[in-house]
Symmetry: D2
């Protein structure tokens, strides 16, 4: 069975700015979904901010193995309840891939427990992305590094917890560095942050970027789901015999 991916797109810049529409005529989300669907082991569909429940109903998430998230201009318009729903799904096993300016989304900040701050510059400079974890499946097919001729700069410090694995680190022409590919396990779910993808450059048309996205989907595909909860174990059903001691306020 193919991995079921929901590609979430904020879909604001594409509606407002001809500059972005020229690069992504059907929206960035459509470009990303098409790149994923090039792999027969992946079946990607899209969801956008403007749909009811931002397209992320319980039913859609029931049918989602991995969710990708791109947002920028309208983080504040994402309902708290939907961000909480996505967060809960991640802890229960759904994979999450957060893209570029999605770092400041409600979803990513919640899952990280962090502000996700960083320094930035929009000058269309060169970015060279180095593999720091050779052999990692997300970096499969990349020989040492790859380059993007024009990207927005994101610079350290990046306000996230120390990752499980540092997959990519970027060199920027203007003099900064950034941890561009980071993995986390959160509950039963796997999370990958991938830096490139500014709306005014054709980054999601880049073949290596598309390969990384497909690699990341396969990596984040859940092994198992887990429901969590706080089970109350009664003294009389303890695994070892117990004599209760002391009172309770319950």
């Amino acid at each position: 069975m193919p991995i079921r991916v929901t590609v979430w797109g904020e879909n604001v810049h594409e509606q407002k700015h001809q500059l972005v529409r020229d690069i992504y005529p059907d929206g960035m989300h459509a470009c990303i979904a098409a790149a994923l669907n090039r792999d027969p082991g992946i079946k990607a569909r899209t969801a956008t901010l403007q749909e009811p429940e931002h397209g992320l109903t319980e039913q859609v998430l029931d049918e989602t193995d991995v969710l990708t998230w791109w947002g920028h201009a309208a983080h504040g318009q994402v309902e708290d309840a939907i961000a909480a729903r996505v967060h809960d799904r991640v802890l229960k096993g759904m994979g999450l891939i957060v893209l570029h300016s999605g770092h400041h989304s409600k979803v990513f900040k919640r899952v990280m427990g962090h502000n996700a701050d960083l320094r930035w510059r929009e000058a269309g400079e060169k970015e060279r992305i180095w593999v720091a974890s050779p052999g990692h499946p997300i970096a499969a097919g990349i020989d040492g590094y790859f380059e993007l001729p024009h990207e927005e700069m994101y610079g350290e410090p990046f306000g996230v917890p120390e990752p499980m694995e540092t997959v990519f680190i970027s060199w920027f022409q203007g003099g900064e560095v950034f941890r561009s590919g980071l993995t986390y396990r959160r509950g039963a779910g796997k999370v990958f942050y991938f830096r490139p993808g500014h709306e005014t450059y054709p980054t999601y048309h880049n073949a290596t970027v598309q390969q990384v996205l497909r690699n990341a989907v396969k990596w984040a595909n859940p092994d198992q789901r887990y429901g969590w909860g706080c089970p109350h174990v009664k003294a009389e059903t303890a695994l070892e015999p117990l004599v209760e001691h002391g009172g309770s306020v319950h």
Copy 2:
């Protein structure tokens, strides 16, 4: 200068239940603060849920190096804005020590980015707490393990991210285990979760528990503060010369 600690107490059980008041006549927070103040290098005061802004005004936090947090019955009554304020302070360097049922507090769940779920049983059973990181400053003075004759059981799985360091692991008489002392770095702040401390047992009167609390305060005392933010670096002030390329939607 002594380390300035604010001991936050929910202060609900102590008001409602004679059972708890018998153990902690002045409240659990008063007992914890007194234990900390036994060290001349620490200056602890208290704050409670019932005070304006839960006793955690900006001014109080300006004067707080380390915050300890105990809550249980009234997590939902903590204002979101205060939980967000504490979270922000932690990222900027304030130490945070979360105690026992504080695992389900808004503050801890926000900082962890996790549900902090666990299994539990209130039977007054024996808990034996093993040192898993010998040499760690939080475990200073403990020779291998220490015991609490009567405690609530918390059992794995514990819904938190993999820690920076696993300091303590508990053995419970009824058959469960639990990671009872976990450290995290979050931004410039250090976070310690310490499991024991159920309201109906005299845990915070235990000399070893008090020693761990003092150790943890010293460990969590901030090295430096850091303000975070998202500085915009203009192309013309880049550290390396840049020629701007491409458009912008800003």
Copy 3:
């Protein structure tokens, strides 16, 4: 193509002690290999200390995706060169699963950079193994915990680096705890330590233990290989133009 596993067995106790031979008539390694081969996606063979190069020739390792390691009585008889060879293979991508008393093998201590010390007791007591990372593929099929009626006790502190993931934690009848399932990434290779398996108990006949071994093999199966090395990049072939400055002692 099935995952190619080499099951390494020290094969000393089985030769010397009827007690062990009664449980494992063909050796512990044969029992483990048979358990793995029950999965059609795995093809396991064995290698033992007594074979030339301990059965771990370059050719054998060329054809090995995952190596499992059980040793106890004869760690010192493993040649340093073979331990170094295995270590090198792990960094290049070969999965490594270290079993029980293999914690003190040359291979495991080298890969960990640690002494792997622990406390122990051989009393045939009950061990209950809790899942600490629900949803982890190595724990697939286990509902919360499983029990072994008779095992050797290993107790904390365990002299290893903080793991990537804490998959299992054991409760022992005699009062100790132990991190019984730990994952590490080392270079391109994945490493899993799994505690149970004392030679005088039928642990490797246990269905859940066998399931964990199969799960672990699938988890440790390399994503990619990576050759490492220290490439010298000449100034004139630098990715960005450089003017050399200063001298050299080379």
Copy 4:
């Protein structure tokens, strides 16, 4: 009591090459020790390869809280027994700071359990070192980044385990990046790797580099020592009552 530091220097380039002697007339180790001794809370002495036991006798290590290590040309001349001794001391609590080409020392590779491979270029190019963990004590006093006008390049991938904390990341003029400041806890000991320090540039005369070295010594100063070992707990002295079951081959 001041922190007792032993600054270990290979002391080969300084003896052979006028180029190096011009920069470090008394040896690199003397320059580093002097930089440390500028802080009254630190008392540093030196030890070199050429001394008996490389200057690292048991007595010297008994009196060492933190050891710094610089080597390059003669890693192979360090006796295995001395490397093992240093490793053992680290696990027992001694701080270890490994400098620049010390990455390929026996000591560092043993402690890491890794090959410490990297790419390199000796062209005297610009290195800009960014703080990735703001608020970390090792980065105290650095505002965002600092620069070295001429350094050797080290590039990713760096063959080390994922660190406890990523303190620094370097940008190189020639187009590479490198994780230049990494922390590890190994047993009771703290380990810091710090990249800069090529022998043909005056890096250890740089005021910020010297500040980092002093910061790192204070960070690595042991909290407690721990002796390790494998204590055998007899069944009759178990913490919980046990009835022995099964046989033993011992």
